[in-house]
Symmetry: C2
Subunit: 342 residues, 2 copies
Amino acid sequence: MQKTGQPTINDVARIAGVSKKTVSRVINHSPLLNEETRKRVEEVIADLGYIPNPQARALALRRNFLIGLVHDNPNAQTVMNVQQGMLEALHGTEFEMVVRPVDRGAATMLDDLRHFLERQRLFGVLLMPPVSENDMVAKLCDDIGCRYVRMGSAQLDDAAHMVASNDREAVRIAVEYLVEQGHERIGLVAGPHGFRSARERRLGFEDALGAAGIALPRSLIADGNYTFESGLIAAERLLDLVPRPTAIFSSNDEMAAGVIHAARQRGLEIPRDLSIIGFDDTPIAAHVWPPLTTVRWPIASMARSAALKLIAGAEEEEVGVEEPSLFLSTLIRRGSVAAPGR
Amino acid sequence: MQKTGQPTINDVARIAGVSKKTVSRVINHSPLLNEETRKRVEEVIADLGYIPNPQARALALRRNFLIGLVHDNPNAQTVMNVQQGMLEALHGTEFEMVVRPVDRGAATMLDDLRHFLERQRLFGVLLMPPVSENDMVAKLCDDIGCRYVRMGSAQLDDAAHMVASNDREAVRIAVEYLVEQGHERIGLVAGPHGFRSARERRLGFEDALGAAGIALPRSLIADGNYTFESGLIAAERLLDLVPRPTAIFSSNDEMAAGVIHAARQRGLEIPRDLSIIGFDDTPIAAHVWPPLTTVRWPIASMARSAALKLIAGAEEEEVGVEEPSLFLSTLIRRGSVAAPGR
DNA sequence: TTGTACGCGTTATCAT
DNA sequence: ATGATAACGCGTACAA
């Protein structure tokens, strides 16, 4: 036992009367080990409360026991949900989570990320959208030999490297719901260019209108960038139209809150004068008035699954079932939708 | 140069024609070094693009270059703001951030934390409220030899280990503002027991009323737990009172959103029938309708300062100025306050 | 099935 | 001011 108080592999080996290597084998669950020896070593380990030193292992294995969360997502709630899901998956394992924001715009982004991954030698990284949609980033991870799993709104990679949601279909169902209520002039607050989710959600929007035989003039589409303010501005433009749309689908909840704001500012009552549907089901959706009908995106579950994919095989107890790579979003009906004029 | 592609200290030493130790001295800015030697070594380092291996350093120094964020805060936005502030401070340094949620309720919390700190050998940790208010945790860090800085609503520790805000005074000023507007029946939605911030804010509330000579019956104080739902329920009770309070101070924004919800449900108009002030200035405050008058808590700045305190002295360029340990919250006046009946 | 000797990349000790 | 050598704690050839 060293002066630091922490027992080392040497202590275990000495007390158990075996070599370091044997202890190492026990730790790493080597199959070729005498059952008796294993038991004896495990007893000593338990006795001493020995825990392998992560720093030493990292040096020897040239690989850290850290899982990185790489993201450039502007939505705080989304990021938190992902972290929560990851931490659930990592809880009780030897892995820790390190958070790494990146600057999508910066020309040096790829180089920065490469330096980070090479230096820290992460066990793996979870890539959040929108940076996860960048194939160069995935390739970079591959090149460096760093495991990765991408989160996204569509299947961008093979099942082992991807956890996706079905944004397009979920939005189609949401907008069909508006159509069923009798809406024909439906506005879209689109997400920012360069976000795959924005594209998928827009496609779902168009799918629904197309299937219903409703024309979609360009004027009914307003661009946003997933922020409250952009939703406000987009809604102002849409609500200026004559005739005014009777419903608006907003590509996320934060912008939907902006739409509600804009509607209220001009004295419109929701849902009587305007129906609204959002996307994400962030807390904001339940907190605005009226409560927002929205698409629930199981982001935390996706993140948990992604993290489990990353550490699959590295843990003692194997995850028997394969982690799914597709997650379904569902429509949450609250108070912001009604038939037009009701 | 190894096959991994990463140059090591040996490569630098060989090419520069010096010993490993000398290179090490250059890296660690040892004062006793020949200026010429240093320059030569630095050139080789730049040439090779050499970067010290963090894993090896961690092993040799028995200390990782990781800063932990230890928290049990239920508010996602608050946690994100803290992370953002920390990451700002850590950006460009050799430090990374690892996030570690703890379970305040669990009896094993201290032991869990001890294991975590002992194993990972963090350089330091930032303690977020409410777990930061637990003196045992601070003592644990001290015992283990892990640097720490606590965040909180009052000065719980010496300046080197504390970054605090002046919640009590900020709330006093906010409530005085209500009094100035002519409010006399003012309700309080208090925060949860065991949160120092809840206590400080309540004290500030009482300070203001006391100074104005306004009595505070127990019935005007409703307990909440910082969640939207608890704010809703607390408000329902307050709004049932006869006579009804004309203003409510909510100990955080999320509960204030619940208060707005409750008010709207019973047809009250804000601010005409009810004035509301929140605390935190989270995005939700600007997103509700009407925009919420609230106390801005400079949480991200506090976190940045806390992180800088943690790594002070470890970085190349010294932080010339001392980081402050007290941050002032300020009242943000928006649309949710008016004179009673207006 | 188990052990020996060495490597991982850095810092620390104690010389010179 | 600089260098040789030994830690740091664990994994891996290779041998036994």
